[in-house]
């Protein structure tokens, strides 16, 4: 019966091309608007590292003053970053399977190739574990060694784009890059990698690009590096008058991530963090009551509310637009069915039950909805492609405007569900018309 109803639906679409096209267009435009915004929302809110999101954790500790005007928007949420002191202390723990402190810093790259002018580039200063913890793919070479990290050696890992620019895409492992007038040895080149959202550095923008290069965290002292990211300070800031005093201050500018073999191990680490904070509190730090969090990636992104409110509003508006389109479609479907009351009455006379007819017309509108969904996906892909063409390829922002397969499936699902709702009223209404009257007027 399903195939029969599908055949009748196709026949009806062919017999009423204008009404059917209008319905397909109405659903298509509504779905396109809806899916475009839903796609942006989905990519904003999606889990960037699903295979590890329950074993990789962000560590947060609240070292803010007790003063009520210190970050009044998030009085209970620990800050995203730690002080340098806390980061260095936490690195002493052997509880995590992997752990990395990190911040970003800006450098001047001085290309040795003819024709390339020096330019500013961002580097993530971090530990060896960063790459394995976050499953960063390598194109050439690998991570610097423990010895190089301890010795604060001048080594660098380039991203693919930088390697293309400096070395024409060749394997640059072992070659030298001049950065801030110093020579750095290339230990590896990472392949294209752009988590979206950029979960490991929410503080500096969840949709910022991954840095152009990576260097050992231990270089911070020998090079006396400044952070190129956000810094929030608590306590007396007037005493910060030197690099050393900044490093010892209560300013937060270092992100800290840990990985465990399994999620249960995080419990023991939480106890460790509490003990650490209590010991520091005894030393006069952490004025507020102990407040910390060790959240996995998924919970961390939810807690940080990284999806912009404007995106949520746009999603809501796009759904409202879809509703308007669907209301129009209900009218069109009703007009289409009311024009066929004699056929409906005839089918009733020949033995079709109301449910048979409701099923037949629901299938017809769902087929129209499916076509509308496909049109919507096409329009959405064209729209997203247009927006993306205005952006730099592979940038984190541009990634938000790429159609995700999950959204294609969602578009089909929403189209079918929406058309089911749209078809229900007209189908129920016309199937309930008294057949005798329609047969008489035939």
């Amino acid at each position: 019966m399903l195939l029969y109803n599908l055949r009748l639906a196709l026949l009806s679409i062919r017999q009423h091309p204008i009404l059917s096209s209008l319905m397909i267009a109405a659903i298509g435009v509504g779905i396109a608007a809806c899916i475009t915004m839903l796609n942006v929302y989905y990519l904003s809110a999606k889990n960037p590292i699903p295979e590890k999101s329950n074993v990789v954790f962000a560590v947060q500790m609240d070292n803010r003053n007790a003063a009520p005007d210190d970050d009044p928007n998030n009085p209970d949420l620990p800050p995203q970053q730690l002080t340098y002191t806390d980061a260095i202390n936490l690195l002493e723990s052997d509880l995590p399977l992997r752990q990395a402190a990190m911040f970003k810093s800006a450098f001047a790259i001085q290309p040795q190739q003819n024709g390339l002018a020096p330019y500013l580039a961002l580097s993530r200063m971090t530990g060896r574990d960063f790459f394995q913890m976050f499953d960063v793919p390598f194109l050439y070479g690998g991570v610097w060694s423990d010895d190089e990290a301890l010795a604060a050696s001048q080594v660098v890992i380039l991203n693919r784009e930088t390697n293309d620019k400096l070395f024409g895409g060749e394997d640059s492992t072992g070659r030298t890059v001049v950065i801030n007038d110093r020579e750095f040895r290339v230990s590896g080149v990472i392949d294209y990698w752009q988590p979206s959202p950029n979960f490991y550095d929410i503080t500096n923008g969840p949709f910022n690009d991954v840095e152009e290069m990576f260097m050992p965290f231990s270089l911070v002292w020998p090079l006396q590096l400044d952070t190129a990211g956000n810094t929030s300070c608590s306590g007396e800031t007037s005493v910060i008058d030197s690099f050393e005093s900044f490093m010892a201050s209560e300013c937060r500018w270092v992100s800290y991530w840990v990985e465990f073999s399994n999620a249960r191990e995080a419990e023991g680490y939480r106890d460790y963090i509490r003990s650490y904070m209590e010991s520091q509190k005894a030393l006069g730090r952490f004025e507020k009551p102990i407040n910390y969090s060790v959240l996995n990636v998924y919970d961390y992104l939810i807690a940080q509310e990284i999806v912009d409110d404007s995106i949520k509003i746009m999603v809501a508006l796009s759904f409202l637009f879809l509703v308007v389109c669907l209301l129009n479609t209900i009218g069109l479907m009703l007009a289409k069915l009311l024009a066929r009351t004699s056929q409906i009455a005839l089918r009733r006379a020949l033995g079709a039950s109301r449910m048979d007819l409701i099923r037949q017309y629901i299938i017809e509108i769902m087929l129209i909805g499916l076509f509308g969904g496909l049109v919507g996906i096409l329009l959405s892909v064209i729209g997203l492609d247009g927006i993306r063409s205005l952006m730099r390829a592979n940038s984190a922002d541009a990634l938000l405007f790429e159609m995700d397969w999950a959204m294609v499936a969602a578009a089909i699902g929403i189209s079918l569900l929406a058309s089911l709702l749209v078809g229900l009223y007209p189908a129920v209404r016309v199937s309930g018309l008294p057949p005798a009257a329609s047969l008489k007027t035939q």
Binding site: M1, Y4, L11, S12, Q15, S342, Q343, L346, R347, R348, A349, L350, G351, A352, S353, R354, M355, D356, P434, P435, A436, L439, K440, Q442
Partner: protein, 244 residues
């Protein structure tokens, strides 16, 4: 057997009530061929619609093959309609977008019937009405008489026990009307009970029994054999009825 007892049907609008059937009583035995005549508005079509389970009645009892129709849910009524009743309409009521084969297929689609059996039944029904060669044609490609034969084939394909015909020859010329009537008679000979609404006294005379409806009630009930045989007598009787 079809038995209606004290059936009443009133059509109501905001301003008026129309009594379409008043205490209507009728029993139709298996294998009968009944002609229902009467002036416009006398309740012929209402009777046929109630008999065909297309319309509800207000009071009374309707037994179809011993089953009380009152209060049956839509699904059961549809099933009864599909399996026991065949319809033939004045305007043929074929679906213009479907070819002849698919038109005859419509009632069979609402039964749990395999494709093979449906095909056999459709081919047999079309053969019975002499239209096997036109199976792939659209209704618009056939003459009126041929379309009505397709409608008869559609009604017969489901092997109904009752055939309800509403002015089956009303849109046909006399030659085609005669052919259709002969077809109905041969169907009746095969045991199908036929109730035919008609304005044509000649056709009515060919039925076993003639029921004359007036103001929603049976005004006269006579055996066909008792009807006057000559045209003048028949006309004078119709004039008498009209004067009632």
């Amino acid at each position: 057997m079809l038995k209606m007892s004290n059936i009443s049907k009133i059509f109501r609008t905001r301003l008026i009530e129309t009594h379409a059937l008043r205490s209507f009583n009728l029993t139709v035995n298996d294998g009968e061929f009944i002609a229902v005549t009467g002036p416009s508005g006398s309740g012929k079509t209402t009777f046929l619609n109630i008999a065909g389970l297309l319309e509800d009645f207000d009071t009374g009892q309707y037994m179809l093959d011993g089953e009380d129709i009152s209060g049956l849910p839509d699904k059961s009524r549809s099933k009864l309609r599909n399996e026991k009743i065949g319809f033939i309409f004045q305007s043929f009521n074929l679906i213009p977008d479907l070819n002849i084969f698919d038109n005859v297929d419509v009632p069979l689609r609402y039964r749990d019937m395999g494709a093979g059996e449906r095909k056999d039944r459709i081919e047999s029904a079309l053969e019975n009405v002499g239209l096997s060669s036109r199976a792939k044609h659209l209704p618009a490609e056939l003459s009126g008489g041929q379309q009505q034969r397709v409608a008869i084939a559609r009604a017969l394909a489901g092997s109904p026990r009752f055939l309800l015909a509403d002015e089956p020859t009303g849109n046909l010329d006399s030659l085609m009307a005669r052919q259709v009537m002969e077809l109905l008679e041969s169907i009746n000979d095969q045991g199908v009970t036929i109730i035919m609404v008609t304005h044509d006294p000649e056709l009515a005379r060919r039925a076993h029994r003639n029921i004359y409806l007036l103001d929603g009630q049976i005004s006269d009930l006579e055996e066909v054999t008792q009807l006057p045989l000559n045209q003048n007598q028949s006309q004078s009787q119709r004039a008498d009825h009209a004067a009632i």
